[in-house]
Subunit: 463 residues, 2 copies
């Protein structure tokens, strides 16, 4: 009896890899989703990354901890290789809590606005900045006002995210130029500082940070975000009292670059080892929350995608990698370095999937690639409809994988539901308690499923 | 100049209703979604219902407040008629906080389990119940054990919701028989009481209440839910120590029926006044949370659907109603009364839409109706895809509208994303702070859009 059982075990061990390859795509996707929903590790991983390590801006000790954590995590999962890529990253620090207050209102006296410095901004120093305020609804309006109306003032950018866009990312895209370029545009006209309405879908008291880019040759002036409630209050107050003055104080500064790393876990391909399919997220986050959605979710989903395929016994033809990119938020150095090394090492990257839109219920995948690639992605859609995933092929990739485009890599963006994202994006509210375990897992499973399909059928990167 | 302007105004007022009728369906849906996302009232209404009134179980003072609130709210919106339908409802009260504890563990001593009485359950009285525990994974296993193993014990139903179902409602449907029928099945075999694993997708310390139904002629025994963490702990403990005893104490009771009401707001049809399209939710909720998702959301979305159509100047051909059903949770008396009166008053109900699956991002609509009705619903799907809404025509209606089926009414269930719902369903965690404004509004807009399409094109109720 024992001998029979041993024979049975032997037969199983020989046949089970075969079984995987005899399965239909429908059955494979079912295995992937079942494994993720039953034995998923992504939620537990994200708990550690969010609650034990927390916010992890590039160059911080927490970012270093996140590098070591993800390296150990992928080692412990038994991937074939785990390795680091060196990358020098900017090191911006926020310093003491920012102050923004209206100081001369006859109606309300002195009152505070909730605020935070924008990433990469210079600080005001201890003495702060005091000036009159000029409100504008964007860069174009600012330019029309010209130097005579702007010089010596604090510019208040107050264009809202348009609520009628169904994708909140479209609404974000329509407003974020104020945050990214507003400071230099205002400085060009002699402004002393800028405050920007937070890039938020909702009205509340939470300011949203995010990166700004200073234009070369233009004076760097302090830039802060104020919460949407504060922006509404300030705008209303300015209508009643146009001569209001603002006091702003911030202590942020840019320190010298720091050595950091992309962290990469790899399962080697069986027949096409030198060709890669990657899934990734960015390991750095802003300092204010714990970066659970942006982009802890994308990191753990990427690791989980590899774990699930490994766990159900799937042996990929191509080499597949989970890539934790460093410094997406305020520099993109990790994404640039990854593409640079891929080129240098002559690694052919077939497709790159990025998850960086939060850990919410999956809706589909976006694409930057050839018409053939798009047709193929759309062709796979019926397989995903069973899982409530319907939205395929709209244009879009991801910031970190973007630099791979010129190497002919098909770029794919994971597209989760976007409605809640810009309530918490880049804020103290981006915390683990807003993550739903099943939503996170369904995203990881859909990413694993897409890796499987690309590995099996390939995808045409040529235009 | 002023005269010209007056002429312009006059022309506008004549032409604007025409304009609405010259719009394409695409434009009408855009108007509906834009109005809801820009000037929506549903979030504000739900804030009041949840935070000012709170939990509102049938027969409670809070349920009476909810009736009066929704009547006033719909009056203030200027609907053509707002009226009440009398309905006698059960009046179950929870009484003092329940106690469930293991009292004789050698390993852990005495320890508490987090618990709540099931709705409609009898209480244990002050002395509680003490007995050994028999764990089963469902009613079938219980029956197999037979009287000799069950008599004098407390039955512990511990079958989980299956995490591999993508719709959490399917997982709920696969487990909820334990909660609804477990008590009478156990009593039939001489059990003293039952504790049931909470109907929850996640593991936490929050017990989920919900209705039970006692079988006629069988002794009514106390029934409580314990949280999933408590169920896991109890199950593990029983493996180590099978002779554990449980002490349970609950003070719930069923009081005499109380007069309550369905609340109905109506916009009268222009050409088919005697034919109705209704949208509804249930006004009652369990007592533990504030009933924001279950089903405050459905109520305010229904009111909002009418408000939006009215606000953009749409004049329906059919009469349309927002119906706040009373007593869905533990009796369905309101839904039964509504259908009874519709029949008696010879009101032809073309279609009934119910929102009772939470206020999350809309995914589509389910249907109970003819093949022609299904084909028509699927035909409208492309109009909704722009709004991320893809899932049409799966079978399903709603509890409150169910009794209308025999009158030939097409039943339609609003289908939002289901992943988070069974973390909070029937618990203290079903609170307004878990509502996302945009998600709620997108649901209301999709319901308004469907009412518009049904009003314009009709829908075939015959099989």
């Amino acid at each position: 009896m024992r001998r029979l059982y041993a024979l049975f075990l032997l037969a199983s061990s020989i046949l089970s890899p075969l079984k995987i390859y005899c399965q239909s795509d429908e059955d494979m996707l079912k295995s992937i989703f079942n494994e993720t929903l039953t034995n998923g590790r992504s939620y537990e991983m994200l708990d550690y990354l969010s609650n034990e390590i927390g916010g992890r801006l590039s160059g911080s000790p927490e970012a270093a901890a996140a590098v070591e954590w993800s390296r150990q995590e992928m080692m412990s999962l038994g991937f074939d290789t785990v390795f680091l890529q060196e990358v020098m990253v900017p090191h911006w620090v926020r310093g003491e809590k920012e102050v923004v207050k209206v100081i001369n209102s006859d109606r309300l006296g002195t009152f505070d606005l909730t605020a935070c410095a924008l990433g990469n901004s210079v600080g005001t120093g201890d003495l702060g900045v005091v000036a009159k305020i000029i409100e504008v609804d964007g860069i174009e309006s600012l330019r029309k006002l010209g130097r005579k109306n702007v010089e010596g003032k604090i510019v208040f950018f107050n264009r809202k995210m348009d609520p009628t866009h169904i994708s909140t990312f479209a609404a974000y895209g329509g407003a974020v130029d104020q945050r990214v370029f507003g400071a230099s545009e205002a400085a060009d006209l002699g402004a002393l500082a800028v405050v920007v309405r937070s890039m938020a879908s909702n009205n509340d008291d939470i300011p949203h940070t995010g990166t700004l880019i200073y234009k070369e040759g233009v004076k760097k002036i302090p830039a802060l975000a104020i919460s949407t409630n504060s922006a509404n209050l300030l705008s209303k107050s300015l209508k009643a009292e146009p001569d209001l003055e603002l006091y702003i104080e911030s202590h942020c500064q840019m320190l010298p670059d720091v050595l950091s790393y992309n962290v990469i876990g790899e399962i080697r391909g069986s027949s096409k080892q030198g060709e890669y399919i990657i899934v990734g997220g960015h390991l750095d986050s802003w300092d204010l929350g714990d970066g659970a959605h942006d982009d802890g979710a994308g990191c753990v989903q990427s690791i989980e995608a590899l774990r699930v395929l490994q766990s159900i016994g799937y042996k990929p033809k191509h080499s597949i990698r989970a890539v934790m990119f460093m410094n997406e938020e305020n520099g993109l150095r990790g994404g640039l370095k990854y593409a640079e090394l891929a080129k240098k090492n002559q690694e052919k990257h077939l497709a790159a999937i990025e998850s960086d839109r939060g850990g919410f219920t999956p809706k589909g995948f976006t694409l930057v690639g050839s018409e053939a690639a798009k047709a193929q992605l759309l062709n796979w859609r019926p397989l995903f409809e069973t899982y409530g995933i319907y939205d395929f092929g709209k244009p879009g990739g991801g910031a970190d994988i973007g630099p791979l485009e010129e190497q002919g890599t098909v770029l794919i963006g994971f597209l989760p539901d976007s409605q809640r994202y810009f309530n918490l994006h880049h804020t103290t509210a981006d915390t683990f308690d807003t993550i739903d375990k099943r939503e996170l897992e369904l995203g990881a499973a859909s990413m694993a499923a897409l890796v499987y399909l690309i590995d099996k059928y390939g995808i045409d990167g040529k235009n």
